[in-house]
Amino acid sequence: MAETTLTDTRPARRPMAGRVRAAMILFAIFAALPPVAAAIDDPFLVLIGTRILAYAIAALALDLILGYGAMVSFGHAAYLGFGTYAVAVLSSYGINDIFLQVAAAMIVSALFALVTGAISLRTTGVYFIMITLAFGQMAYFFFVSLSAYGGDDGYGLRQRSTVLGSDMLENDFTLYYATLVVLIGLFWLCHRIVGSRFGRVLTGIRENRVRMEAIGYAPFRYQLTAFVISGCLTSVAGVFLANQAEFVSPAFVSWHRSGELIVMVVLGGIGTLTGAIGGAVAVLLLEEVLGSLTEHWKLWFGLFLVLMVLYSPHGITGVFKKLGLGGTKQ
């Protein structure tokens, strides 16, 4: 979405230190959650927490291409699908090891991203959004047609994944911390990618494609690489989601999920990585909290979104910056 960024007058990338600090604070809070949940005797918090962490991984992966590459993929839920179904399909054949499942999810995702990305990258802007939606929907209907795995009814898992033969993930706390460790690892990875040579080229292409070509870059290769990386990382989120929900279904692959991922990233503040994580937390927590307060929570959630856009142009990151937290001065 090249024109998307035109009205945005912020610098392409700001000093990272503040954001990393904000992410650290977030991670510390995450790490403290299970003890707190245990202390107040509410183990359910850990389960919600795991779901939030898994979506945070997906949002992070999406921000890599959306925020830094201006590739607004509206079909990213497909990769959640490859992740969740990798768990379901392999476990139905007795393969429960999480490393094998992640590897399978990534390989399938990489192939899918490679093919659909190569086609989608012929287009830009809203056309890109829609063509990725098309591929996302194809993946969706593919999963719907998997009668052996319940079609659109979905498929309940009989057990969670194992880690090198150990069933430690059956413990909700362990699953939570495993997801957190993966999130932190991937955040670090994305952070490095964004600051690398590759990341700078990617951002440059977003800013001015023709100029980048004129100094000798072939944009397609870089964009496609980023697209594939993002797809693979998203599928990791799917593996953890399947373990959290203990069942898989095309519901994880519907365009609503893709849209929700975009909402998380944009609400958090695009192109900040930390924002994507914050956005995932905000969206899912608000759903939880508003949902427990009122039957008409969607009304309030919608209102919140509208007001955020109107009054805080840079999402949640913007709010924190205004409050003097998390961001760095320019």
Binding site: P11, T203, E207, I215, T225
Partner: protein, 250 residues
């Protein structure tokens, strides 16, 4: 330094023949100016040379090697760089980053995913050298969008030079640059002369006649004259099509 040879190049937009069988040789180290009325096809010609626009037919040879099948990026790696008539930079990158990206394009792989690029001394130092030559060193940390028009033009050239081209295609580098800045700009191009082969499009006749070794006049897709600045200036066809009487007084 390279030699550029253009053979029977063609390009049409619908019925409009914008480049109409153009053949031209740019000798190594030469600064070859192309002048011509507005809409004559000069920018189109540059776009064809750089690979931004595909050509309908004809051939472009760089040191004897055909460029026709090469992409824009590949041509840059072969040493062909260009500047844009309408400033084209990365507005939300700093001035330094704009140039460093061009340096990076030349210096090895960009498929490096981990090492922080901002700390790569080699890139930054080379970029600073280029900026210093362009007189932009004290603007290095400024967001490129905040530069004035004149500074934009300088940055535009600096980016092109940072790719260390063998041949530089300049599309109206002086557009909107006035006074002292323009003089400095011309002086800068003079210093580059002989080191790099250049193709210059410019409507500022002072600059053209000061800088060019040879001048070609492009009128509606066809080259109507090629020669030394003096010869071209005296050519009545050129006066009629392009220069008018103003230049006589100047």
């Amino acid at each position: 330094m390279s030699r550029l040879e253009i053979r029977h190049l063609q390009k049409a937009f619908g019925a409009l023949k914008v480049t109409d069988d153009v053949s031209l040789i740019v000798e190594p180290g030469e600064l070859h100016a192309i002048i011509g009325p507005n809409g004559a096809g000069k920018t189109t010609f540059i776009a064809q040379l750089s690979g931004q626009l595909p050509s309908d037919s004809g051939d472009i040879l760089l040191d004897g090697q055909s460029l026709m099948a090469r992409s824009m990026a590949e041509r840059v790696h072969l040493g062909l760089a260009r500047s844009f008539q309408i400033t084209s930079i990365l507005p939300r990158f700093t001035v330094l980053e704009n140039v460093a990206l061009a340096v990076q394009a030349r210096m090895g792989s960009s498929f490096r995913f981990f090492a922080p690029v901002a700390e790569e001394a080699a890139l930054n130092e080379t970029a600073m050298t280029v900026l210093a030559e362009a007189g932009l060193e004290d603007r290095a940390e400024v967001m490129a969008s905040a530069l004035s028009h004149g500074e934009h033009r300088r940055l535009e050239l600096a980016i092109a030079l940072a790719t260390e081209p063998q041949i530089l295609l300049l599309d109206e580098p002086l557009a909107g640059v006035g006074g002292e800045d323009a003089e400095a700009f011309v002086a800068r191009l003079k210093r580059l002369k002989g080191k790099i082969t250049m193709v210059l499009i410019e409507h500022d006749m002072d600059a053209v006649f000061q800088l060019a070794d040879r001048v070609s006049v492009l009128v509606y897709g066809k080259i109507i004259a090629t020669g030394t600045p003096d010869a071209v200036r005296r050519d009545p066809k050129v006066r009629e099509a392009y220069l008018g009487e103003e230049e006589e007084a100047a």
